[in-house]
């Protein structure tokens, strides 16, 4: 039985293809959830590898997300409001990591900050600082792949921001910083929250750049996705448990974002 459609009929066969598409996405996730060994769930979760990887992932992803916010806000603001020569190139470069294979990002990071890298060799020779294969490298790898998400979301938010509000604040006696903090940021808050959550989720899931640039040392650079991969390689059920945890986190992030979009829409985009 079909309900009377409120729109025109779609092309014949679309319905079946759409079902196929949704199934292909949902099936692996459902399969993962079904195979989670619930009897050993908590013992797997409380094993040392798991807790170490979890806390490392939380710590590094929170640091890299904070870095992304602090450095991404000014860049997104400039991209939205300034029209200098070469801005298109800057914008393209900043967004490139979104489409770049993460492993390539890791190789690139090595050539920049590795012991023989462009900056890394100077850091090594002058300050005896070696970044590659450290926890700092894990943070940098996450930052590299995640900050573009924040920049893209915030640039669009700043573009839609009504400039007259900032102008009004300035004529009322507020300087540029006060205006940004007390008017611009509160007005773009829905986008800010969405951007932070997306960025954090991307940082948390980072694998390719991390394993290339930071390595896979348990307790130091072995984040959750890397721990999952290692457990899986060893045929350990822990892989399922940790995967399920990450899937749940992603799901919660998505639900939070959706609620946010809806409430933002109801308030007329404000």
């Amino acid at each position: 039985m079909m309900r009377p459609s409120r729109t025109l009929n779609g092309p014949r066969g679309f319905f079946a293809i759409a079902i196929l598409c949704a199934t292909l996405i949902a099936l692996p996730l459902v399969a993962l959830a079904i195979r989670v060994p619930w009897s050993t769930f908590f013992s797997s979760l409380s094993s040392e590898t798991a807790t170490t990887a979890l806390s490392l992932s939380l710590r590094t992803s929170l640091i890299s997300t904070s870095l992304a916010i602090i450095t991404g806000l000014p860049l997104a603001w400039l991209l939205a409001h300034r029209n200098f020569r070469g801005i298109a190139l800057v914008r393209a470069l900043c967004v490139l990591p979104m489409v770049l294979p993460p492993v390539v990002g890791g190789v690139a990071l090595l050539y920049a900050f590795g012991a023989k890298g462009v900056i890394g060799s100077a850091l090594n020779d002058w300050f005896d600082i070696r970044l590659a294969f450290t926890q700092t490298a894990a943070v940098l790898a996450q930052y590299f792949v995640a900050v573009p998400f924040f920049i893209v979301v915030m640039e669009s938010a700043f573009q839609q921001f009504d400039q007259r509000l900032a102008q009004a604040a300035r004529t009322l006696g507020a300087g540029p910083w006060r205006t940004f903090v007390t008017v611009t940021l509160p007005v773009v808050r829905p986008a800010l929250i969405a951007g932070v959550v997306l960025t954090w989720a991307r940082a948390l899931g980072e694998f390719g750049a991390t394993i290339t640039f930071a390595g896979n040392t348990a307790g130091r650079t072995q984040t959750l996705p890397l721990a999952i991969y290692m457990a899986f390689e060893n045929g350990d059920d822990q892989a399922l448990v940790l995967s399920f945890i990450m899937m749940t986190v992603s799901f919660v992030v998505l639900v939070l974002l959706r609620q946010h979009w809806i409430s933002a829409l109801k308030r007329g985009g404000q």
Partner: protein, 226 residues
């Protein structure tokens, strides 16, 4: 004691030339076709748009000067120029009270004093009953009153208003015109008012400056003078 305007604003294919002196206590209406540069003139005085040539000065203070040897640009927060934007431009995340208190807080007035004075200013504007409403809950006329209160509480030296009655229905327009008349009478500095409503202009002002526009195929030349 006058606001002295002698400047150009030039963009790609548009030049606006302004040549005006506005005395303290004078209310001057700016008229002219859409896009001829009325709002740009207000923005240049407020410091929201730098001028490309010439001088903007008030009494002995230079706001903006662009000559061969000198270049001065006073930031908008240092000019004491009050702007009432078209349809208010109220801060959507603050209620009416905190919109009005905003300027005082920016001038480092303590929170309790700022709130207290904001209440009094809202009462003067006969809108204190809406103190806790957000802008989207206010009617067009109420928004204008809050916007006016928000500007006046900072005690500006110069008052600029961009189309204060345009978006209003007939009744709130008459209200707003009456209110503006009172405000203008009490205000000691120069007032510049952009409006399309000729009957409002004739009620509120005695002097008018007109923008004339000359267009060529590639360039638009606007001139604002009396």
């Amino acid at each position: 004691m006058t606001l002295h305007l002698d400047f150009d604003i030039a963009r790609d294919n548009f030049t606006l030339t302004v040549n005006l002196d506005v005395a303290n206590g004078e209310v001057l209406a700016l008229t002219g076709p859409n896009g001829s540069g009325k709002t740009s003139t207000l923005h240049a005085i407020a410091g929201l748009l730098p001028c490309s040539r010439g001088v903007i000065s008030f009494n002995n203070a230079i706001f903006d000067a662009n000559a061969d040897m000198t270049s001065v640009f006073l930031q908008p927060e240092r000019r004491k120029v009050g702007v009432v934007f078209q349809d208010g431009a109220l801060f959507p995340h603050l209620d009416a009270l905190h919109n009005v208190a905003y300027g005082l807080r920016a001038q480092a007035v303590t929170k309790s004093v700022a709130i207290d004075r904001a209440h009094k200013m809202l009462a003067t504007m006969k809108i204190d009953h809406m103190a806790n409403s957000r802008p989207h809950q206010l009617s067009g006329g109420q928004k204008q009153r809050v916007a006016l209160a928000r500007t006046l509480i900072t005690q500006p030296d110069i008052l600029l208003l961009d189309e204060p009655t345009t978006a209003l229905d007939q009744e709130s327009r008459q209200d707003t015109v009456r209110l503006l008349d009172e405000v203008f009478t009490a205000f000691s500095g120069p007032v510049l008012l952009v409006s399309h409503q000729y009957d409002d202009i004739s009620l509120l002002t005695r002097s008018i400056a007109q923008i004339t526009v000359e267009r060529t195929a590639k360039h638009t030349m606007s001139t604002l003078q009396r």
